[in-house]
Symmetry: C2
Subunit: 155 residues, 2 copies
């Protein structure tokens, strides 16, 4: 049950954009051997419906019919499969958002909570070199940038 993908649907009502995203993610999970279940789809579509980085608890209350553990499990699965990425706020609160794939970092607005991907920034090289100077072989890093987005900028 649940919305099945109408492959060649002529001129029916188009489903909301997010539905396509959900189908897409579910398909990728299936390829990896994970089942297509209703609670999982609910979690994924709730994730896709968010417009800003959200917390796991927010997702739980947006999905009162899905068990808390299931929401957390779904979220973890999405992170592990790179569909969702985690961002860390200045107060160390952990939030999630749909990933645009590939390694990247986020700009987070401290006022409205908006997030943008950090483009045109090649820290990796620089960090690797600096690490080497200290005798370290870099294997990873965590970077979050905070500030105010265009809309929240003032004075």
């Amino acid at each position: 049950m649940v919305v099945t993908t109408p492959k060649h649907s002529g001129h029916e009502h188009p489903r909301p954009r997010s539905a396509a995203v959900v189908d897409d993610i579910v398909a990728q999970l299936c390829d990896l051997g994970y089942r297509d279940t209703e609670p999982r789809r609910l979690v994924i579509s709730a994730v896709a419906a968010q417009s800003r980085p959200f917390t796991a608890e927010e997702l739980c209350s947006a999905l009162p019919c899905v068990g808390r553990a299931t929401v957390y499990r779904g979220l973890r699965l999405l992170v592990e499969t790179d569909q969702v990425c985690r961002v860390l706020l200045e107060d160390r609160e952990l939030r999630y958002q749909l990933s645009h794939q590939g390694h990247h970092h986020h700009l987070l607005c401290a006022v409205c909570g908006a997030s943008a991907d950090l483009e045109g920034c090649d820290v990796e090289e620089m960090l690797r070199d600096a690490a080497a100077t200290a005798g370290f072989k870099m294997s990873g890093h965590w970077l979050e940038v905070y500030g105010r987005c265009g809309e929240c900028a003032e004075d």
Copy 2:
């Protein structure tokens, strides 16, 4: 009570280096209006005695005679006054270590837990520019770099 600073101590036995560090920190706190108390000194000297980044709980068990709340309060005070900095491990575990003052980042060995300050790395500029490109005004950032230290490096 408690070790007082022997200003001009002739040729007595030198106290452990860390004692000087403790006195120094306590003095700075006093300047800020905080009292010089025994539990506080115990916390500070336990901090100074650590050779690697440590967790709050580790500190608690290293100080069985000091209340848990007091250890946490002391730690928080030290962070707020910039005497101690916080580092975040890859699994998001929070650890602490004596600060070398000023804004800087850390290199953390994923094997032995050693930490080194990241020198000669000017990410700030780069981040600020990249943020501006996205219409953000950067106000802060969090960066941790993970890898293997020289001793733990292998093939």
